[in-house]
Amino acid sequence: MSYSDKAHDHPGHDEHDDHHHGPAPGLMRWITTTNHKDIGTLYLWFSLIMFFIGGGMALIIRAELGSPGLQFVDPMFFNSMTTMHAIVMIFGVVMPAFVGLANWMIPMMIGAPDMALPRLNNWSFWIMPFAFTIMLSTLFMDSGGPAGGWTLYPPLVLQMGDSFAFVIFAIHFMGISSVMGSINIVATIFNMRPPGMTMMKMPMFVWTWLITAYLLIATIPVFAGAVTMLLTDRFFGTSFFSAAGGGDPVMFQHIFWFFGHPEVYILILPAFGIVSSIIPTFARKPLFGYDSMVYATASIAFLSFIVWAHHMFTTGMPLAGELFFMFSTMMISVPTGVKVFNWVATMWRGSMSFETPMLFAVGFVIMFTIGGLSGLMLAITPADIQYHDTYFVVAHFHYVLVPGAIYSLMAATYYWIPKWTGNMYDEKLGKLHFWISTIFVNVLFFPMHFVGLAGMPRRIPDYNNIFADWNFIATIGAFGFGFSQLLFVYIILKCIKGGKEATAEVWEGARGLEWTVASPAPYHTFEVAPPIDANTVTR
């Protein structure tokens, strides 16, 4: 029997009957909702839609790069595609999807009835569609969308046409949404845990999100400051980033990457949490080294603040700066290595089965490690001077973000969708989705290492014939990977419509409070604090 059922048997229940209501009917349910599950669902659908918009842009980029010469688009539009693809994928897909998962799962994982600040929660979601409508609308303006790269380096970004102010405005709103979402998560984790749910008993996903939320609260305002300085440089005659007025364009890069480097961990720490939840379930064995996982996550977060200038080794830093940032960057591989080793040790002598979530989680560990190792290569400054701004870098960060962050999101979807919908997804199709995606994602990104090392810069719409073969292969991979995601949507829709009924536990080896409530999870869960004991916590 699940705990929410028990709540209904509570003697005092009848007196509170008027507090027990389901969702409001119709569209207003979604607009006015303050329910963490509804808001989680909104975030996840938003992110899925943006995934296809950002993916469509990636396919335009890959189509143009399929062969030498310009075939389809003007170089300016190509540049705005690379810029928009990044903005959409980072701020519109990975971040909202993680916030959506946090909304759905964190209250259920720690045994709280809802998020601490439900109205703020509604607001932080509903800002997003408007921010992205403004952002995407710039593509239809006469001047075209932003085309100076998602890093918005001045002076180039100041050459943007009328869309400039809209882009800055949209970024501000995305930032406000993220900060509000993060404050809510921190407040929930600190204030809503029932007695007995101590910090070191929290599931790893909750821990990684707590640390991620701090990173967001610390860095988003820095980014907001940087883009505001761009705005005043453009419209109010300041010259923060213009040498002619005593400013420095490189100062923007320092400020940007002080945000930007923690940002890349914002995109991966919750993924670590997801994988740390899934692997123990399917290995039927507790997570290896829980404490060291927590400390490793915290170390990565700390280090993320002192490595930013490794994105800037060619900007002419002093030697001492280059040495410092090389050493600090290399250090990151230690806690990251600890995480990978812990996952492998969790699998070791387990009793493993490979349902779709486990396949995606294992795929994550393998391919994220490949991306991590190329990251270690990039830390070596003299070599980075050759790698910098080439397709080698593109290969590196796509390995950590696509078969990394995106795979963790797919793993999470397959893992928790029975809890969300009450139905099992189609296991056969799920496995098919994994295998097709994994083949194509490697066909897509692996060749980029080669062309990058051989001298192909990134962000170019056309190239010499010596790069033609690998680029053609990458383009095949891109279309294969892109279209196989339609299968993902089909599996989700099919699962919502029906399927084998899911039990409360769903997975044989699953532990944790979210598996003690019925599937689908009732609209309100844990109105009464659940008992915290060895059977209801993950460790």
């Binding site: 290995a283 070599a383 292969i473």
Partner: protein
């Protein structure tokens, strides 16, 4: 059920793997060893860290795959219940740390060498523009611009109908290569006139950002005569992909001969600027200057791109007051993509392109601007505080 999935995945894997073997140009696989002592060392560092990564990856994946095949529920594996081991955790924190130190020491050594600019034997100032390079030999009084080979510039236009495969060095060739002697320690000074660019020649293992208002430096001592090709590595706007770099390294005597030739050319260009040109001559030269400098934004027929780049055809500036037109071309327009061409084009080219713009695309002003007139106009305009001429640019730096 799973075997069914595997059965038909296999042909897909082969179908994708086979063409990659047949078509791939195996030359485009790895970082070049290059032609300087530093580039060789960088390549060695790259290979060393790559092998370390392979070893680490192989160990981790071997354990992982062994576990995945052996410790399966379907094979009757029963889960152990250990979940920590301080010894193991300390080992796998210390071992990577040791590997890092082993890697960091040689990397730091190479980095220190790269940043040692002492005893350079000649200096070349590289100024980046959207989308070309200017090379100034600070010891020789030679200065010229270098941009994409004009034939490639035609071929790369959308729907050009030109097969790019006929050019061996498509998008990697320029009109005027940078010519340098072998065996000398050459110091490069990098700056930019508009946005940030990055001067990258893989064979020399040099990549340094060109930042407007600041000077960066790096150096190379080329050991082998030859032609080495590179590209702009920092996104710099619409034609970022189309500003290649070509370095031609010559033995010292051949280099000396080249220097003499350049000096004679400069003298001839000065003569050009003071003679009287015919209207037709100016139009012909102006068309070439337009195609090389103005066309990528203002387009072939001067129609511009609405909202992004204004049209030349029927433009108020171009058909109106001559001084405003000259000033726009010479100084550019602040906070826009319109750059200052005053420092980039010679008086002859400026006079020719302004004459051309005022008489092409249906702009029938009938004006003729002589190079000599341009020279005096420019001297008049240089009173302006915003002025950027080659002379005062040198002063700033």
């Amino acid at each position: 059920m799973t075997s069914g999935v595997y059965r038909w995945m296999l042909p897909i894997v082969f179908a994708l793997a086979l063409p990659s073997v047949a078509w791939a140009d195996w030359g485009a696989l790895n970082m070049p060893v290059g032609v300087t002592e530093i580039s060789g060392k960088v390549h060695a560092l790259h290979m060393r860290i790559f092998y370390w990564c392979c070893v680490i990856g192989a160990c981790v994946f071997a354990v992982m795959f062994y576990s995945m095949f052996k410790h399966r529920k379907s094979k009757g594996a029963v889960a152990a219940d250990f979940h920590e081991s301080t010894t193991v955790e300390v080992i796998w924190t210390i071992v990577p740390l040791v590997i890092l130190i082993v890697m960091a020491i040689p990397a730091a050594k190479v980095l220190i060498e790269m940043e040692d600019f002492s005893d350079s034997e000649m200096s070349i100032k590289v100024t980046a523009y959207q989308w070309r390079w200017q090379y100034e030999y600070l010891d020789e009084d030679i200065s010229f611009y270098s941009q994409l080979n004009p034939a490639h510039n035609v071929a790369r236009q959308i729907d050009s109908g030109v097969d790019t495969e006929q050019f061996e060095h498509y998008l990697k060739d320029v009109d005027n290569p940078l010519v340098v002697p072998v065996g000398k320690k050459i110091r490069f000074l990098h700056t930019a006139a508009d946005v940030i660019h990055s001067w990258w020649v893989p064979d020399l293992a040099v990549k340094k950002d060109s930042i407007p208002g600041f000077i960066n430096e790096n150096w190379a001592r080329i050991e082998k005569p030859g032609v080495y090709r590179g590209k702009c590595a920092e996104l710099c706007g619409r034609d970022h992909g189309f500003m290649p770099i070509v370095v031609q390294a010559l033995p010292q005597e051949e280099y000396d001969t080249w220097v003499e030739e350049q000096k004679m050319k400069t003298a001839a260009a000065d003569m050009d600027a003071i003679r009287q040109w015919s209207h037709q001559e100016l139009l012909a030269t102006g068309a070439k200057v337009y195609d090389a400098n103005c066309m990528s934004c203002h387009q072939k027929e001067g129609q511009g791109i609405p909202g992004m780049f204004p049209a030349i055809a029927g433009s108020d500036v171009v058909t109106g007051d001559l001084d405003t037109h000259v000033s726009t071309v010479v100084h550019g327009v602040a906070d826009s993509a319109m750059q200052a061409f005053g420092s980039r084009l010679t008086d002859t080219d400026l006079a020719a392109v302004i004459t051309y713009q005022r008489n092409a695309f249906g702009n029938e002003t009938g004006d003729t601007i002589q190079p000599s007139h341009m020279r005096s106009l420019r001297q008049g305009l240089s009173q302006s505080a915003l002025n950027v001429t080659p002379d005062n640019l040198k002063g700033v730096n």
